[in-house]
């Protein structure tokens, strides 16, 4: 069934769309960066940016040819898997990105592994015992969580766990992670913060989706077969709620790669988001573009994955 041609057609179609989207984004990003005042040379020289100095540096960096030309060059390079070189320090963008991306993905990974199960089970439980005290508790909790600014959560947790209690390191990076325990400690706080931010939405959506399916006749049918509440929800409701849930999860997770600037700032965690902020600050086009691509790819792959799950979880769509 998985291997049915239509499924592959769907996959192909999604990929095609994704590709086009990427192109659009990269152009959008390019024009956006063109709007930014000043260029690499000026920014690099900062206070020392006297006209002749700027001119000299521009020439030295090969920035004298028109931007669009450079951009096209970059695109064609990308086509051959070449991300180009950073303007500011002439290091291969791939190298610059490599480590950062790993960090980001590691963080995102840990958060995902922790959040998704927790959020889903909470959402399902809330839906299962809808209207019960635990439903109320969960709902209220999620609301309050999404209502507090991220950086408050972050700063507070540093203050409490690192400064006052001195349980956890205030920095996640640079502290040497030799053992698993050390690693857990190192990542604890950014993970906590991000989990707060991310899971609330997932819980809400899961709850909503499951409740919707609980209302359907086939779940009532299950009840009339004498099925327990657990069975009704897990066996009958959940599989049919998978599509929307997957979608919500994907959207929440897509935030983890690019949206975590604040966490990266507060915990001084060298991830891609901060990299892109730097890149923007220094007008480092190849770097900006590459970062944007990464965000976009992660977003698209997540949403596409979600769609795939939705399709596979539904035999009607499957063929």
């Amino acid at each position: 069934m998985l291997r049915s041609p239509t499924t592959w057609f769907l996959v192909g179609q999604r990929l095609g769309i994704a590709f086009i989207t990427l192109i659009i984004v990269s152009f959008a990003v390019f024009f956006a960066t063109e709007l930014l005042p000043g260029d690499v040379a000026q920014i690099l020289l900062g206070q020392a940016a006297t006209p002749e100095a700027v001119a000299g540096l521009r020439e030295a960096m090969g920035l004298d040819e028109p931007a669009i030309q450079r951009f096209i060059g970059w695109l064609t390079g990308l086509a051959q898997g070449e991300m180009g070189r950073s303007y500011v320090n002439n290091i291969d963008v791939a190298d610059l990105l490599g480590g950062r991306l790993q960090n980001s993905l590691r963080l995102a990974g840990i958060v995902t592994v922790i959040c998704v199960p927790v959020a889903l089970s909470l959402g399902i439980l809330a839906a299962m015992f809808r209207g019960s005290w635990m439903d109320r508790v969960v709902s209220t909790a999620t609301i309050s969580v999404i209502s507090v600014p991220e950086f408050m959560v972050a700063t507070l947790s540093v203050l409490i766990f690192a400064v006052w209690l001195d349980w956890l390191p205030a920095l996640s990076y640079g502290v040497d992670v030799d053992s698993l325990g050390a690693m857990l400690r190192a990542y604890a706080m950014p993970v906590i913060t991000l989990s707060f931010v991310v899971s609330a939405q997932m819980i809400r959506m899961t709850r909503a989706a499951v409740i919707e399916t609980i209302e359907t006749p086939y779940v009532e049918m299950a009840l009339l077969k004498g099925a327990s509440r657990t069975r009704m929800v897990l066996v009958h409701a959940l599989p049919n709620a998978l599509g929307p849930i997957a979608n919500a999860v994907a959207l929440s997770l897509s935030y983890l790669v690019g949206g975590v600037i604040i966490v990266e700032t507060v915990f001084n965690y060298p991830g891609v988001a901060k990299l892109m902020v730097d890149a923007v600050a220094t007008r480092d086009l190849p770097l900006i573009q590459s970062c944007a691509m990464i965000f976009c790819v992660s977003y698209l792959s997540l949403t596409t994955l979600a769609d795939m799950i939705a399709i596979l979880s539904n035999p009607r769509l499957r063929q």
Partner: protein
């Protein structure tokens, strides 16, 4: 048989519900009945009569917001009313089981049929999977399902409605319970399909000797399967008796009313003037329409295949056929909602553009369409007044007081109180909605009304009333109807001529009055013969050529 101790006894059953406003209402008001083993009891009544509520209460289940408030329900040795939810769960599926109204909705779309059929045995672990499946296959055979050995491997959407309905019966019978509840199990089916399903049910019930509760609004269907009938209205028993007695000498006026509504009142054509001379109000020539991506002028899925007919002014054309025959598509094609890709629609002699976007306001005004489901046909966000006022404003530019007066007149025309105009559709009953639905069409004062199954969703009595209304209006306004329905008696009741459609083709055209006699095309005959009759022996005595069945009702 009536002597031995009842399997089910219900005493003074009272079920209450809480409305959104928190008002408590009693929807079942003290119902008593018994069911002896092997007996099939029918609960007859219109929507809102509480028949389904009672049936479900036998399993100790009430829908959201409802609760059993009084009386006792005993099933076998169990006092259902006294049980905890856990105990009830043990009862469900094993001793009492349920065959849903719409199997299509009651099957979990994402699970294989077999898993769902044998689920009961799994929940109560009654037997090993293998045995359960074997048993299921036997049931499939007993229910005359095609390729019984593999059908379980399919997903619900991969089998036809009739098959699903029978599969749901298998699902109910798998644990061989003592009592099976059938909740309008054939209402959603075509007549030809219905026959098969009814037959299957009858057979298994007789063989297994299980007792049953059969919930339906259709006396004719019930007549074929039930031993006893309870007639319900507004949550109260009106009459209770053997099927024979209820059908042949009903005592309660309401029962009489029901029976009356069932007998088709033959349609008397307006003063039989010879009209072959003047131009037909609607003429359709070689009409072809379909859905999907259009490739070189032809859509991917062709539905209508060169339809031809003429409808004379002041006369009514009935279009009958089963689901998928393309009758609704025909209406849409004529109305221009689905532009035909070939052929022409002539209104009063002049050709209409296939796409309604190209038609003149006037053309649109003169031919109105009325849809089957009044609740989706009326915008829930607008008051009745708005709904009726819009066409008045749109076609006639009426405003303010004049418009208001006209709205009231229209409501009066369809026998609705003027005060209704301030309500929202959600606050109206099904019949009222359908009347408003009709009134909106009348607002355009059209010459032709395309009625797409407008009585199908209604209770027989209400439907009958609507038909009378249609006739009356025709008298007053000299309308012509194109009347689309799957129900022959309805068509008989209002139409002069009938088209029988099958797979997008008109297989036969004839005068409505002579339908039962003159029909020659095998499909027409099959269709006509499949309409249940108010006669307990009808189904038993019915001969139908199985090849015909196989050929025409694909399942």
């Amino acid at each position: 048989m009536m002597t031995d101790t009842p399997l089910v006894s219900v005493r003074d059953l009272r079920i209450g519900a809480i409305t959104d406003s928190g008002r408590k209402v009693e929807i079942i008001r003290g119902v008593d009945f018994d069911i002896v083993p092997g007996e099939i009891l029918a609960l007859i009544g219109e929507s809102g009569s509480g028949k389904t509520t009672i049936a479900l209460s036998l399993m100790g289940h009430t829908r959201r917001g409802c609760a059993i408030e009084g009386g006792t329900i005993r099933v076998g040795k169990h006092d259902v009313t006294g049980m905890t939810e856990k105990q009830r769960a043990r009862l469900r599926g094993t001793e009492v089981s349920y065959v849903p109204q719409s199997a299509a909705a009651a099957f979990n779309p994402s699970k294989r049929i077999m898993d769902q059929v044998v689920e009961t045995t799994r929940i109560h672990d009654l037997m090993p999977r293998a045995r359960a499946e074997a048993h299921a296959r036997d049931l499939f055979r007993a229910l005359a399902l095609p390729d019984p050995d593999t059908i379980g491997e399919r997903y619900p959407h991969q089998v036809s409605g009739g098959q699903l309905q029978r599969l749901s019966a298998a699902m109910a019978l798998i644990a061989s319970p003592e009592l099976v509840i059938f909740d309008e199990p054939t209402t959603a089916l075509d007549v030809t399909t219905q026959i098969e399903v009814l037959r299957a049910f009858r057979r298994v019930m007789q063989e297994s000797g299980m007792a049953g509760v059969y919930v339906s609004h259709d006396l004719a269907v019930v007549a074929q399967i039930a031993d006893r009938i309870i007639v319900l209205k507004g949550g109260e028993t009106q009459e209770q008796g053997t099927t024979e007695q209820i059908l042949n000498n009903p005592r309660h006026p309401y029962t009489k009313e029901l029976l009356a509504a069932f007998d088709p009142v033959p349609h008397v054509p307006l003063a039989g003037r010879d009209d072959s001379a003047d131009t037909p109000v609607l003429e359709v020539r070689d009409l072809c329409a379909g859905y999907g991506a259009v490739k070189d002028g032809e859509p991917a899925a062709k539905v209508l295949d060169s339809i031809e007919f003429r409808l004379m002014r002041g006369r009514n054309l009935g279009v009958i056929g089963e689901s998928g025959s393309g009758k609704s598509t025909l209406a849409r094609a004529v109305a221009g909602i689905l532009p035909a890709y070939r052929g022409s629609v002539l209104f009063d002699g002049q050709t209409l553009a296939p796409d309604l976007a190209q038609r003149s306001k006037e053309d649109l005004r003169r031919a109105q369409i009325v849809f089957q489901l009044a609740d989706t046909a009326l915008n829930p966000a607008h008051s009745i007044a708005n709904i009726l006022a819009r066409p008045l404003r749109f076609y006639k530019g009426l405003h303010g007081a004049a418009c208001e007066r006209e709205v009231i007149r229209l409501l009066d025309l369809v026998h609705l109180p003027a005060t209704l105009r301030h309500r929202l559709p959600s606050e109206l009953s099904g019949g009222q909605k359908q009347r408003v639905n009709l009134a909106r069409a009348l607002a355009a004062d059209p010459e032709l009304i395309l009625c797409d199954e407008i009585t199908s969703a209604l209770d027989t009595v209400v439907a009958a009333a609507i038909l009378d209304l249609l006739k009356e209006l025709q008298g007053e306004l000299g309308l012509s109807y194109m009347f689309i329905s799957h129900d022959l008696s309805t068509v008989e009741a209002i139409c002069d001529d009938v088209l029988v459609m099958y797979k997008g083709k008109v297989v036969e055209a004839m005068p409505a009055t002579r339908m039962s006699q003159d029909a020659t095309h095998p499909y027409s005959r099959l269709l006509i013969s499949s309409v249940p009759q108010l006669d307990t022996g009808w189904l038993a005595g019915l001969e139908q050529d199985p090849e015909l069945l196989a050929a025409f009702s694909e399942r």
